[in-house]
């Protein structure tokens, strides 16, 4: 009897499960568009269903009573709704889901900005592009010169952005300032970046209107993120026509160490290939670097990177002041750099970043027996905190301390007193990102800076917005004030100067298709408080002041297409710029010498499956730049010849762990000339003697072989080129 009761009970329980109720409804977004594939289920049960092509759903359930209905859909906030189930059929009111504002789907500010990285969606170029795009063989700055807004200045190699001087661009690695990002070279010869693009997996290159997080740059900021933790041990060997490098990586569960050592000597190459420059001792360099990564806790990551390098060269220069004679220009550069950073989530939605960098750079120059020593020692410490208040509001606050000592030893007695200066800069920044919706973002910030050497402070407001006007297109605006210390040369001379200032106005339109991108930008930049001076006796600066000013405006155009040609892609990058300045020793307003009115770069890359090779073609053309002929009445009134260069590179994979790379710059041997240099004093007939400024050689060839050895044969340096 008792057992039959038990059996009854057992049968009763499942029986109740078969009383099916039916819930129906429709799921849409805020604007009433149907959401297809939304997940609708009753919390704490197995009963669920999916919305169809019209957003409709029918949910069968055996649950009764008070229940909670969950509705989930990618990119939208989870919706919970109390329902009362009676076992019959019920129709719900239309369910509207709120869009979730997250970094992957929300609009991003694109005014002035190019981003690269694996995860970012609005990227103009991937990190690999930094390696394969240009004729300068893996130089970060060379690759950036393929982007609009930059001007190619052949005799410099540095970044010149939107009418700005190269010193107006700053480079940051993992949040810390790199005081000396370029290699050293003799005057009027091109330099390269000190860091290999292979070190980085993400970058943000801003040509204007950047965040309050960055300061001390009037024109542009390049922020590079080093690679995440490597996962496998390996050994890399690079053999180049100009040198060799050996590197190794060792990994553990939560840590890794990598180190490399390299030697370059251009002597054999330059003896083989005719050079315009006459060398007494061709460039050579020796250096090494080391990096360390440690995962701390669940989300923390500690990074260290350090490098040391020595390079030297000696050229034989013809003297313009003493015709028929030559002098030797010798340069020895020593550079040490290290930085550390730690980033981690200290509490939910609170991300702390601490970073520190140290730079020590010394240029020892000997012009025959005249010796000049230039030294720079700089540190940068940074602390910032990012807080996600809600998915509509994010705030960033931080503080920094920059310390820089710059010294110059020059055998002229007058300068001895002022041969060194130290400047401490203290900064604070605050920024808020406000999402009105996932289609509309506003970023408001301000930055404070105080310099103890100048005893001046500045407050720089910045604001930028982006609005998505359609699924694939958006507009973005940016406005802000930017300040920078005057150049070392003038600070050495005087501390009664003020910060130089630039105001940026940028308007950007972006259309980002699946494999195509169109980006256009117009901007206006107003310079004020630029350093101006007169030249007194002994070629000394006199009346150094902040009375200079200037402006620049222009149009940038960028088109990238990975869709139209199978296995191929092409880019068109064009900039138009008008730029006028009255600064330094200019007698009045003039076009400066580092801007081409028109800059055009065409890039084509093609992958040949059957040859396991990639061909890269890069054609650049820039309209003539101005230069000053002291024999003429008009200052900076002369124009150099237009710049043309066709560069090609070929990468071939004979085996999975070997890459062979070859490149030629200026394949066609087009004549290149970057204006003229002049004697410092006129000759007997009253004219200043001149000589054209030429590139180092007509063409530049590079051949290299990269080998990777690892336990796992899967790995190669394919990534290095492809």
């Amino acid at each position: 009897m008792k057992y039959s009761l038990l059996f009854c009970l057992l049968f009763l329980i499942p029986a109740s499960l078969f009383a099916q109720g039916i819930i129906s409804g429709v799921v849409t977004d805020n604007r009433g568009e149907a959401l297809i594939g939304a997940n609708i289920y009753i919390e704490g049960s197995y009963d669920g269903t999916t919305s169809n092509l019209e957003g409709d759903f029918i949910l069968e359930t055996s649950e009764i009573g008070e229940q909670i209905l969950n509705i989930e859909f990618i990119g939208f906030k989870k919706h919970r709704e109390k329902i009362s189930l009676t076992g019959g059929s019920m129709e719900l009111d239309p369910i509207k889901l709120d869009e979730e504002v997250n970094e992957l789907t929300a609009v991003t500010i694109t005014a002035g900005t190019f981003e690269a990285g694996d995860k970012k969606k609005s990227i103009a170029l991937s990190s690999i592009d930094m390696v394969t795009t240009d004729g300068s063989s893996g130089d970060v700055y060379g690759a950036l010169q393929a982007l609009p807004g930059t001007t190619t200045v052949g005799e410099s190699g540095k970044l010149f952005v939107k009418g700005g001087d190269s010193r107006e661009s700053k480079t940051y690695i993992d949040g810390t300032l790199v005081y000396v990002p370029y290699s050293s070279s003799s005057p009027n010869t091109s330099v390269r970046g000190r860091f290999s693009p292979f070190m980085f997996s993400g970058m943000m290159f801003s040509t204007g209107g950047y965040s309050a997080e960055f300061g001390q740059a009037l024109s542009s900021v390049l922020s590079l993120q080093t690679n995440a933790m490597p996962v496998q041990d390996q050994l890399n060997i690079s053999l180049l026509s100009v040198g060799a490098e050996l590197g190794g990586t060792k990994t553990w569960e939560n840590a890794s160490v990598a180190a490399s050592i390299g030697y370059n000597n251009l002597s054999p190459y330059m003896k083989l290939v005719p050079q315009y420059t006459s060398w007494k001792s061709e460039p050579q360099s020796f250096g090494g670097d080391m990096s360390f990564r440690l995962k701390t806790g669940k989300s923390g990551m500690f990074k260290f990177y350090g490098s040391a390098n020595r390079s030297s060269l000696t050229t034989i220069e013809e003297s313009l002041d003493h015709p028929g004679t030559t002098f030797n220009y010798k340069l020895v550069n020593d550079n040490q750099f290290f930085n550390t950073s730690w980033i981690g989530e200290i509490r939910k939605n609170w991300i702390l970043t601490t970073a520190f960098s140290f730079t020590n750079n010394q240029d020892r120059i000997a012009i025959d027996s005249l010796k000049i020593n230039e030294s720079l020692r700089g540190t940068h410490a940074k602390l910032s905190l990012k807080h996600k208040v809600s998915d509509r509001l994010r705030i960033l606050a931080g503080t920094e301390w920059y310390a820089k000592t710059f010294g110059m030893e020059y055998p002229l007695a007058e300068l001895q007193e002022a041969s060194t200066y130290t400047n401490n800069t203290l900064t604070g920044f605050f920024e808020a990102e406000i999402y009105a919706s996932s289609r509309f973002i506003t970023r408001v910030g301000t930055r404070f800076e105080y310099s103890d050497y100048l005893n001046r402070s500045s407050l720089a407001p910045r604001i930028s917005t982006a609005y998505k006007i359609a699924k694939r297109s958006q507009v973005s605006l940016a406005y802000g004030w930017f300040f920078q210390d005057p150049d070392n040369d003038y600070l050495l001379y005087s501390n009664s100067l003020d910060f130089e200032r630039a105001d940026h106005y940028t308007f950007n339109y972006l259309m980002n298709g699946d494999k195509r991108m169109l980006r256009t930008e117009v901007y206006y930049k107003k310079y004020s408080k630029l350093v101006k001076y007169g030249i007194g006796e002994n070629q000394q600066y006199s009346f150094v002041n902040n009375l200079g000013d200037g402006y620049a405006y222009g149009l940038d155009f960028f088109w990238r297409d990975r869709k139209s040609i199978k296995n191929g892609e092409y880019w068109i990058s064009y900039s138009y710029i008008e730029s006028i300045r009255d600064y330094l020793d200019y007698p009045g307003e003039a076009v400066h010498n580092f801007t081409s009115k028109h800059n055009l770069t065409l890039i084509y890359k093609h992958w040949f499956d059957s040859l396991r090779s990639q061909l890269g073609v890069n054609f650049s053309i820039a309209s003539p730049r101005h230069y000053n002929d002291p024999n003429k009445d008009v200052f900076n009134g002369e124009k150099s010849m237009a710049y043309h260069s066709l560069n090609i590179n070929w990468s071939y994979l004979p085996k999975q762990n070997v890459i062979i790379y070859a490149s030629v710059s200026n394949l066609l041997g087009s004549e290149q000339q970057f204006g003229y240099k002049y004697a410092s004093v006129p000759d007997e007939s009253g004219t200043y003697r001149s000589a054209p400024i030429l590139p180092g050689a007509k063409r530049w060839f590079l051949i290299g072989c990269f080998i990777t050895l690892s336990k796992d044969k899967e790995i190669n340096q394919l990534d290095k080129i492809n």
Partner: protein
């Protein structure tokens, strides 16, 4: 009487508990059977949703998360979709994978799915992503094989990777074909822990062997 009540309630509890478990197995089995008939994005989305519901109910089980991730990875592989959409699906897969790694850090299959997910992420843009992703794929496969050296799915992914590289470089595929054949022959000797544990990969391995024979 007292004893009977005790026995009765014990039995009842046992039934309910067993019933719960049974229901989980039953639900998993039911949902898994639909896998074979899935082909469109909508099919897989529906299936992923169902696994999501089960995962929410059974917070200690990794298998519902595994299959939810599997659905999203498959959706991520659908190359008629836009890259951004595919990335969105893979992002969802990674959420489930992260949870799964936490629940079952010692399950080989978990890392197989992780390797599969990374592969999906890489194929969306091989030139741009192989640099950061291919070491992650290899590492995940290695981890799976360290836990379970004979896991057929981990072996399959490794062979499939090797095959891709070999055919790309035009090198000899014979040794890889041999490995594939070996794997196929031993496939059925691998004993799953339960009928709802992963079983995919045999057909794909057959595909490799078939192409080898041509």
């Amino acid at each position: 009487m007292k004893r009977t009540t005790l026995l009765l309630s014990a039995l009842l509890i046992a039934t309910v508990v067993m019933g719960g478990n049974e229901k989980y197995y039953q639900k998993m089995g039911e949902t898994l059977r639909k896998f074979a008939s899935c082909s469109s994005v909508e099919d897989f989305q529906d299936l992923a949703n169902q696994f999501h519901v089960i995962a929410n109910m059974e917070t200690k089980e990794w298998l519902p998360l595994y299959y939810e991730a599997h659905c999203y990875v498959i959706m991520g592989f659908m190359d008629h979709l836009e890259a951004g959409v595919r990335d969105g699906y893979l992002e969802r897969a990674s959420v489930s994978i992260e949870k799964m790694v936490e629940i079952a850090p010692d399950e080989a299959e978990v890392y197989v799915m992780k390797a599969f997910y990374h592969t999906g992420y890489m194929v969306i843009n091989p030139p741009g992503r192989s640099m950061s992703t291919s070491p992650l794929i290899s590492a995940a496969i290695a981890r799976a094989l360290a836990i379970e050296p004979n896991n057929p799915r981990a072996l399959f992914l490794r062979i499939s990777n090797e095959m891709g590289t070999a055919s790309f470089f035009g090198s000899d595929t014979a040794p890889i074909c041999e490995k594939a054949l070996e794997l196929l022959e031993s496939w059925d000797s691998y004993k799953r822990k339960s009928p709802i544990h992963p079983s995919w990969g045999k057909g794909e391995t057959e595909g490799i062997v078939k192409r080898c024979g041509q």
